[in-house]
């Protein structure tokens, strides 16, 4: 079905619904067999931290939803290197079981290789 698409995730989790609704769209696409590649950029990289405990703010863990990705297809995701370093995040702090995390220096070249990009 269709071309391979890239979804760019720039929203931090919890503060707005965008990160969650973006992830829901990604999971829906993957469940339909669409090949989806993911790029986490800017505050979106905060979605990847593995010590999220949002019980105290009555929200469900977004990180747990991310862990569902490999069940639907995606086995890797791209992360912008400078977004991590600007925020003082060591790439070792971002772990999702079953997902290969690729830290990239030049997100522009990656983006340009797709016909359709979804933005969240």
């Amino acid at each position: 079905m269709g071309n391979k698409t890239l979804t760019i995730c720039r929203a931090a989790p919890y503060g707005s619904a965008l990160a969650r609704e973006g992830l829901e769209a990604i999971l829906a696409a993957a469940a339909m067999g669409q090949e989806v590649d993911l790029l986490f950029l800017g505050d979106g990289v905060f979605q990847l931290l593995d010590n999220q405990s949002p019980e105290g703010i009555q929200q469900k863990s977004l990180h747990r939803n991310l862990q569902a990705l490999p069940m639907f297809g995606p086995e890797q995701l791209y992360v912008c290197a400078s977004s991590l370093s600007e925020r003082g995040i060591n790439p070792k702090q971002i772990k999702i079981p079953g997902i290969d995390i690729k830290v990239i220096e030049k997100p522009g070249a990656l983006i340009a290789s797709y016909q359709c990009v979804l933005n969240f």
């Binding site: 505050d43 912008c80 977004s83 983006i111 797709y114």
Partner: protein, 97 residues
């Protein structure tokens, strides 16, 4: 090449800076809505040699039409020009926060 739509002011959002971080050679920038305030922001100089467009109606609405942008060569376009840019470039990435 990628068409980047920036719709937030660079004075209050990381939209423009994130976009610039993802700008590849040959990419095109279109400023819309509050994104037109980028015409006054120094970060735009990093795209000195790139194609930069601005929606004229959005700039006019904000009193930015007479402004000499911080970089030369910004082209004001109408909605038909916007459509044309979208047909000429792929993918289209929106930087809206």
């Amino acid at each position: 090449m990628t068409l980047h739509l920036v719709s937030k002011s660079p004075f209050s959002s990381s939209a423009l800076c994130d976009c610039i971080k993802c700008f590849a050679e040959g990419d095109v920038l279109l400023l819309i809505e509050d994104g037109v305030y980028a015409l006054r922001h120094g970060a735009l100089q990093k795209l000195q040699n790139s194609a930069i467009y601005c929606l004229e109606a959005d700039a006019k609405a904000r009193g930015q039409q007479e402004l000499t942008a911080i970089v030369s060569g910004v082209t004001m376009i109408d909605d038909a020009g916007w459509v044309k840019l979208c047909t000429q470039n792929t993918p289209i990435v929106s930087w809206f926060r």
